[in-house]
Every structure is written in structure tokens, then in C-alpha cells.
């Protein structure tokens, strides 16, 4: 065992309060496993926002449709990396795909991921961009034109009939995509919710709470991106669209917050054996991240702002500012939610008699810097995707 790790654990040993099983000193799921559900949540949320346009015909949201799809793709591409990096033997990870243990929730990852990436996202994006790509394949310069030709799989048909077919396909895939997005993130919640050994995780509500918090975070992210990208292109922000996103954000946040309160009340009221140690943990270990960041800054204040902007007739500039602040606060809040779920579940002993600590390392494979890289990487991918497949292309559906 290396000396630094040994000293790290010795230090934690000094911070243990009460009694924990001797093997419980080490927190096994680190910040990377916090990043994982956060990223997948953004994917699911962004996709749900996009599907509002296609399935529910919310035309006001059109300007963000393609942006939302590309955002979902960019984040989905990075989402498995934190999982992979945290493995003791990343090179053996292929076994999850080829010889999965069907009773394991984690083993379903391969299928859920592949389904969502291949069948839902890539296909929807392909059909939506196909006609554009055919056009770009003719007008763009070498070698880009070839790239578009390859991406469009050398299809050439841009007749109105073909476009109608594309449109219809997009709609069908979106209809399929909504339950898929629900499964994708509900499933991530199930990874935790199905652990009966852990009273902090074991709850039927967890997958649903995960889902709605995912929708909240995804909508907020697309809103944020739209507000940053549009002015940087020298274009005006479509306020009708922005107000509409804010409305959906408000509804989703209300459902999410209600579910969280329900979960909280349920635990408190049932007051099972674990309630004492969980209360201890919330007060002593998670106060800042749960009470302050998740609930107050990440939920109550944004909810207040959103309700206020709906009720009062603020001018455009103020609304923009408030939305911007809200979207950022919500990201902080949802990230804290993931933090509290993942790390909270490991800070109390399964003997229900004591607490341990998580000391985040800075460097290293499971450190803060790595987490930061993984959180920033999707934005770079998104930038490339936007460059390659401009959401505001010449497609009549675009702006």
C-alpha cells in the first residue's frame, strides 16, 4: 500500500466518530461517482426539453431544440468515463458488456447506454440533420464536404417527400426517447435505490427523485447555454423561448422539490432505526452541502426567483439576469444533490453507530482535478458538435 494512501486513511481514522466497521473507513465511491449521475442527469434533462418541441409541439422552444439534442449527446459521450476511471481494473470493463450478470443493476449500464446512444440520440440527430448534411456535403469545402457525405451515409435525397419522412422518424424516435430518457436516469437512481443494506439509498422514491432532478438540471443547462451562445453569435435572445423554458423549469422544479420533501417527511415520520445516525450525519457532515447548497441555494432561492419572475412584470434585461442566476444556482444545487446521495450514503456506518469522513484528494485518478476535467470536457465536445452541426443551420426548422 502506498504511503500517502495509508496516511490518508490514518487521518480519516482520527476523524471517525462513534463506531464504524473496520472496513468502512475508506469511502469507495468518490467524487467521480458524484459526477456520473450528474452528467447522465443532464443528458436526460436536455433530451426531455428537446422532446417538448417534437412530441408536444411546444413551438416556442424551437430555437433550443437542436442545441438541446447536441448538449445531450456531448454529455452522454463523457458520462461513462467517470465510471470507467473509478474501476480498480478499467481494462476489464468490457466484461460488463459481454458477460454481464443479469441480476446486477450496474450490469444493465451497457444496454441502457448503448440503447440510448445508438437508438435514440444518434438516430434522432441523424434524421434531423440528414437533409442539412446532404446540402453541406455539396456546399462545404474539402475535406469537410466529405465528412458530411460520410456522416449522411451518402444519402442524397432531399426531396420534400424524403424530408417529410425524416420529420416523421424524428417524431417516432422522440416518442421512444422519452421513456428511454426516463429509463436512463431512473435506472441510475435504481443503482442506489436498490441497495437494501443502505438506509440512505434504499428507497423506491430515489429513481423518481433522480429523474426529476435530472429534468431540472438539464433544462437549466440548456437555458444557460442558450443565453451564452446566442449573444456570442451576435443574435438577439428570443424572450418568448426563454420565458417558456423558465416556465418548464419552474414546473419541473416544483415536482422535484415536492418529491424531495415527500422523501424527507416519509423518513422522518417512519423514523426507522437508522434515523438517529442519518440525522447526525446531516447535521454534522452534510449541513453545508445539503441544507445550504442543495435546499437553500439550489432549490428554494431559484424557485423563489422563478415564481417572482412569473408573477411580477420585470423588464427583459432583469428577467435575463434572473434566469441566468437561477440556472447557475440550480446547477450548484443538483450537483450537491448528487454529492449528498453518493457520499452521504457512505459516511455513516452500516452498524448505524458512527460516522466517517470523505477527504477529497486533489490530484490522482479519483481526485478533484479529474472530476473538473470530466465536468468541463462535455463543453468542448459540444463546441465541436456545434461547429460541425450548427443548430441554427439553413434548415427551415432552425431559427
Amino acid at each position: 500500500m502506498n504511503i500517502a494512501a495509508h496516511e490518508g486513511l490514518l487521518k480519516i481514522l482520527g476523524q471517525v466518530s462513534g463506531y464504524i466497521y473496520p472496513n468502512e473507513i475508506e469511502v469507495h465511491w468518490s467524487i467521480l461517482i458524484v459526477v456520473y449521475p450528474y452528467l447522465t442527469g443532464l443528458v436526460a434533462g436536455a433530451f426531455i426539453l428537446a422532446s417538448l418541441v417534437k412530441v408536444f409541439n411546444v413551438t416556442a422552444l424551437k430555437p433550443t431544440y437542436r442545441l438541446a439534442l447536441l448538449t445531450a449527446l456531448a454529455f452522454l459521450l463523457i458520462a461513462p468515463l467517470p465510471l470507467l476511471l473509478h474501476l480498480g481494473h478499467p481494462l476489464r470493463s468490457w466484461q460488463i458488456f459481454f458477460t454481464p450478470n443479469l441480476s446486477s443493476a450496474m450490469a444493465m449500464f451497457g444496454f441502457v447506454y448503448a440503447w440510448y446512444l445508438m437508438v435514440v440520440l444518434l438516430l434522432e440527430i441523424w434524421f434531423d440533420y440528414r437533409a442539412d448534411m446532404v446540402n453541406w456535403g455539396q456546399t462545404a469545402k474539402f475535406p469537410l464536404n466529405w465528412l458530411y457525405k460520410i456522416l449522411s451515409l451518402f444519402s442524397k435525397d432531399v426531396s420534400p417527400r424524403a424530408k417529410v419522412f425524416d420529420k416523421r422518424m424524428v417524431k417516432y424516435i422522440t416518442i421512444l426517447g422519452i421513456p428511454s430518457a426516463f429509463i436512463l436516469h431512473g435506472y441510475v437512481g435504481f443503482i442506489f435505490g436498490s441497495i437494501k443494506a443502505n438506509p440512505w439509498w434504499s428507497s423506491v422514491l430515489i429513481p423518481i427523485v433522480f429523474l426529476f432532478s435530472a429534468i431540472v438540471s438539464g433544462i437549466a443547462l440548456v437555458m444557460l447555454l442558450y443565453m451564452i451562445i446566442t449573444p456570442s453569435r451576435g443574435k438577439p435572445i428570443d424572450m418568448k423561448c426563454l420565458d417558456k423554458i423558465a416556465s418548464f423549469l419552474l414546473y419541473a422544479a416544483i415536482v422535484d422539490f415536492s418529491l424531495e420533501i415527500l422523501d424527507f417527511t416519509h423518513r422522518l415520520y417512519e423514523s426507522e432505526e437508522s434515523i438517529k445516525i442519518i440525522t447526525d450525519m446531516v447535521v454534522n457532515k452534510l449541513f453545508i452541502s445539503l441544507v445550504v447548497l442543495q435546499v437553500l441555494i439550489g432549490m428554494v432561492i431559484p424557485l423563489g426567483i422563478l415564481i417572482l419572475t412569473k408573477a411580477a412584470k420585470f423588464n427583459q434585461e432583469l428577467r435575463k439576469l434572473l434566469y441566468f442566476v437561477t440556472a447557475i444556482l440550480i446547477q450548484i444545487g443538483i450537483f450537491s444533490t448528487r454529492w449528498n446521495v453518493v457520499l452521504g450514503g457512505q459516511m455513516f456506518s452500516k452498524s448505524l453507530r458512527g460516522l466517517t469522513s470523505y477527504n477529497m484528494e486533489m490530484m490522482g485518478r479519483e481526485g478533484f482535478l479529474m472530476a473538473l476535467v470530466l465536468l468541463i470536457a462535455p463543453f468542448f465536445i459540444l463546441a465541436i458538435l456545434i461547429k460541425l452541426l450548427p443548430p441554427w443551420g439553413k434548415n427551415p426548422d432552425g431559427e
Binding site: M1, N2, A5, H6, L9, L13, Y19, I20, Y21, P22, N23, E24, I25, E26, H28, W29, L83, H86, L87, G88, H89, P90, R92, S93, Q95, I96, T99, P100, N101, S103, S104, A105, M106, A107, F109, I191, S194, I195, K196, A197, N198, G345, Q346, S349, K350, S351, L352, R353
Partner: protein, 249 residues
């Protein structure tokens, strides 16, 4: 007896043929199924007599030596907890260096109502949640009911560690795989008993086959009141405790 010998001979000869041709393979399969039905499958388990444990920690050390468990005090295949129950019903639990370290009490003796030691280890659950969640099937239950980790398959995801309600598992700091008690599988396969059982000076640990009437474990289960840990989780543990106090979790 004669019949068993005959079948053994038959299966041996079958193996020889099996290497030669397909027909042999078929015959081998047939004889194998016959021999299984005759020699009963063993189901190994452990009994722990709490009233006999003196908290010496020898089992903890013997286990570490026998199984190359990292010597740092964060990794244990077995450990011993000390319970001190005070007159005001407060409970203090300790497991200093897994129970092998020096005991320390800052408590006045007159405040203590009762105290006892509880050795712990993997319960080789009949319904092991660790095996249920393992994404690649690296954790599995043998036909003898022992829950093992296949070192070559384990991807080091730690999901099993999260799923074990008893804190029986740890992530091996060098091998980067999940590790835990095997009931000294290597010893019992060659007719021995687990190292912790062998070293225990008071015979607090009783090893045996649940399918054999003559096993000391069956005798223990017949004579004493038995409890298991966290029965409400329905893992069906196969470490059976006598005199288990309600405070033990």
C-alpha cells in the same frame, strides 16, 4: 461404499476416455451426474459462541497471516467487536485494530452493566446481495454455499462493498479487487478447517457442514438458541451466533 468406489473408478476411466473422443465426453457427463447424486453436496457454515469469546484477537491475526490480508488496520476478513453496555443503556462499541489491538476503556467499571465480544466475518449469505449486484458475476456462491470473489474477473467497481450489509468486504489496496473471507476455502478443500477456527483458544468458533448430522455445527444449532445478524434484510446469513445480544448490529 463399494458402489461409490465403483462409481469413482467409472468416472476416472470416463475422464480418460473423455480426452480421447466425443463419446467419452458424453459418458463422462453421465457418470458425473451419478456421482453427484450419491456423495452429498456439502454446505459449510460457521457458528460463533459469543459467551466463549475472550476477545484475544488471535483469529484476526491468524486470518491476516493465512490469507495475506494487508496488515494495515483498514482491511479485515474477520474482526472482533467489543461491546460495553452501560447502566444508562448507552452502548460503546470498539474494534481497535480489528480487535487485535490493545483494549482501552475510559469508563468506570461501576458504570458498566455488561460487556462481551462479537467476532465478525462474511456471513456467506444464502441470498448474498453482494453477488446479486456484482455486474460481471465475479462474486459468486459455490455449490458448498461459500461466497467467493474471482480475482481474475473482478473489475474493482466496489458495488459489492456497498451492497454488503455487514461491512465484510474491502477493496484490496494492491490487487484493486474486492476481498473478503473465503472460510479458508483452500484449507477446507483439502480437508482442513478455517485458520480462525483452528487458532481460537476457547473454541468460540465452530466450523461444520450443515448437511452432515455429525457436524459439530449441527450439534451447536440443536443445543443452543441461535441468532443471525440483521435477519430483517433477508440475506439468510450462515454465520450462526449463540447468545447474541440485541445491541449487536
Amino acid at each position: 461404499m463399494k458402489r461409490i468406489n465403483f462409481i469413482k473408478l467409472l468416472s476416472k476411466s470416463a475422464i480418460v476416455i473423455a480426452t480421447g473422443n466425443l463419446f467419452g465426453t458424453v459418458l463422462h457427463a453421465a457418470t458425473k451426474s451419478v456421482s453427484v447424486t450419491i456423495s452429498h453436496v456439502k454446505r459449510y457454515a460457521l457458528g460463533i459462541q459469543i459467551e466463549k469469546c475472550i476477545g484475544c484477537g488471535n483469529c484476526v491475526l491468524a486470518c491476516k497471516t493465512e490469507n495475506d490480508v494487508p496488515k494495515e488496520p483498514f482491511y479485515f476478513r474477520t474482526w472482533v467487536e467489543r461491546y460495553l453496555i452501560k447502566k444508562n443503556d448507552d452502548v460503546v462499541v470498539q474494534s481497535i485494530e480489528g480487535g487485535a489491538g490493545k483494549l482501552s476503556t475510559e469508563m468506570e467499571e461501576k458504570d458498566i452493566l455488561r460487556s462481551f465480544f462479537v467476532p465478525k466475518l462474511c456471513n456467506h449469505c444464502e441470498k448474498p446481495p453482494c453477488a446479486q449486484v456484482c455486474p460481471v458475476g465475479a462474486t459468486f456462491k459455490t455449490e458448498e454455499g461459500i461466497v467467493l470473489v474471482d480475482e481474475k474477473r473482478c473489475i474493482g467497481c466496489s458495488y459489492c462493498i456497498q451492497a454488503c450489509p455487514y461491512g465484510a468486504r474491502y477493496m484490496h489496496p494492491e490487487k484493486h479487487i474486492a476481498d473478503k473471507c473465503t472460510l479458508c476455502f483452500h484449507r477446507i478443500k483439502s480437508g482442513g478447517i478455517p485458520a480462525c477456527v483452528e487458532i481460537c483458544p476457547t473454541q468460540a468458533r465452530v466450523f461444520g457442514d450443515l448437511e452432515s448430522k455429525a457436524s459439530p455445527l449441527i450439534r451447536l444449532k440443536r443445543m443452543k438458541k441461535i441468532h443471525v445478524l440483521k435477519p430483517e434484510l433477508n440475506t439468510e446469513p450462515k454465520v450462526f451466533y449463540t447468545d447474541l445480544d440485541g445491541e449487536v448490529k
